[in-house]
Symmetry: C2
């Protein structure tokens, strides 16, 4: 199991501090040569490191050392920017598309709507320190938030909800699974199809208990660590 040894040897170098976060690894051909193996085996080792969350790739640009993940507490309502800044990270959000459309299967399922109901669909990419880390799709009920698309929600939707519609979240139902980035999501996050991802689905309820919106977040899995505290009724 040569590729495990190669992986361990690179892990050692990372932990010894010889490789810093965001730093690029040497070219695959050079690494392969230095470990006296072929590119195929070397890439096996790199994939392992990627799966462990220690390195990440940028499509056709190479492999880089992963920075510390962002702590994400799904039981809090803080928005992305606030959360990132509290952890000394620089957040950025890029709006990809915002449109009024008809609910697809996924949106209908999450929001309990009839298929083909009207719905707003907003796609955004979240950055941490200029690295794209998450692709977020939001589906929003237009009957609750009429003319939402006229506002500036590029940074925070929850701010717009609160300030212009007096809607605050009362609760969120969330689901976390692992999957991969594919197609346009992979491209938007500057990576290749098949990159491991953490998927967070959230269904948001307003103060009246109505399902008002949902978010599907695809995170590069090395960029996030879910952390929270659960208190139990005695």
């Amino acid at each position: 199991m040569q590729y495990v040894k190669i992986k361990d040897s690179i892990v050692e170098q990372i932990e010894a501090g010889m490789l810093c976060p965001r730093q690029k690894l040497p070219a695959e051909r050079k690494l392969a040569e230095s470990f006296d193996t072929t590119r195929v085996t070397l890439r096996e080792a790199l994939s392992l490191l990627e799966a462990e969350g220690r390195i990440y790739r940028e499509d056709r640009r190479g492999w880089f050392i992963s920075p510390e993940p962002l702590c994400y507490d799904p039981t809090l309502t803080v928005n992305f920017s606030t959360m990132a800044q509290a952890q000394n990270r620089i957040p950025k959000t890029q709006l990809l598309t915002a449109k009024s459309t008809l609910a697809n299967k996924q949106a209908a399922r999450l929001l309990g709507l009839q298929p083909f109901s009207d719905i707003y669909c907003i796609d955004r990419v979240r950055y941490l320190d200029d690295r794209p880390v998450a692709y977020v799709t939001s589906y929003i009920r237009p009957d609750i938030f009429p003319n939402l698309l006229d506002f500036d929600f590029s940074d925070s939707l929850t701010d717009v909800y609160r300030e212009h519609f007096s809607v605050r979240y009362q609760k969120t139902r969330y689901r976390i699974v692992t999957s991969t980035l594919m197609g346009e999501m992979a491209q938007a996050l500057r990576t290749t199809s098949g990159t491991p991802a953490m998927v967070i689905e959230r269904i948001n309820y307003d103060q009246n208990g109505a399902q008002v919106s949902c978010d599907i977040e695809y995170w590069r899995h090395d960029a996030i660590s879910i952390e929270s505290v659960a208190e139990f009724a005695q």
Copy 2:
């Protein structure tokens, strides 16, 4: 991107119901031939399916269709058996080792102990419908649970805590990240090094707010879906 097409074609067969959960895929060489490609490319496609959580492998036995994941709510105190049975699954727990030892770095960090403090260490494997799905390591403070190892905790530790020590969890601090199964963990779960995993670390506090134990759970990532509800203070 041939391997994405192969993957899609297998996904199609799964979703059409032609392949049932737990069913074995044909041999790699046969699949490769039927898609008119080499084993290397075919395995690329299989790894993608594994990363998506649609198939899983058993070491040297082959590839199988993943069953529905278990819903796991980290904000509840229910034990594994109860949780599994509530979802019509057959749980089983196998005790690997239970010993009194000195805290390693990980245990000391999680429980806030001095290095080399005395600690109990218990390793178990959790099964669902006879499939090994999680490797769980528990570190437990012997000053809170004296002579714990004399009891039968093979099934549920929390039951023993409650019945014999009158300790109930008041809260749990948890952390969820993705990583891989390596070495003996991979072996215990009947798979190979590098299999994607969901890691759940829990630090448990008793009714007095003391850190009494912690668990590190390595789940096959396709076997689990984290689901919960968060209520917000207004």
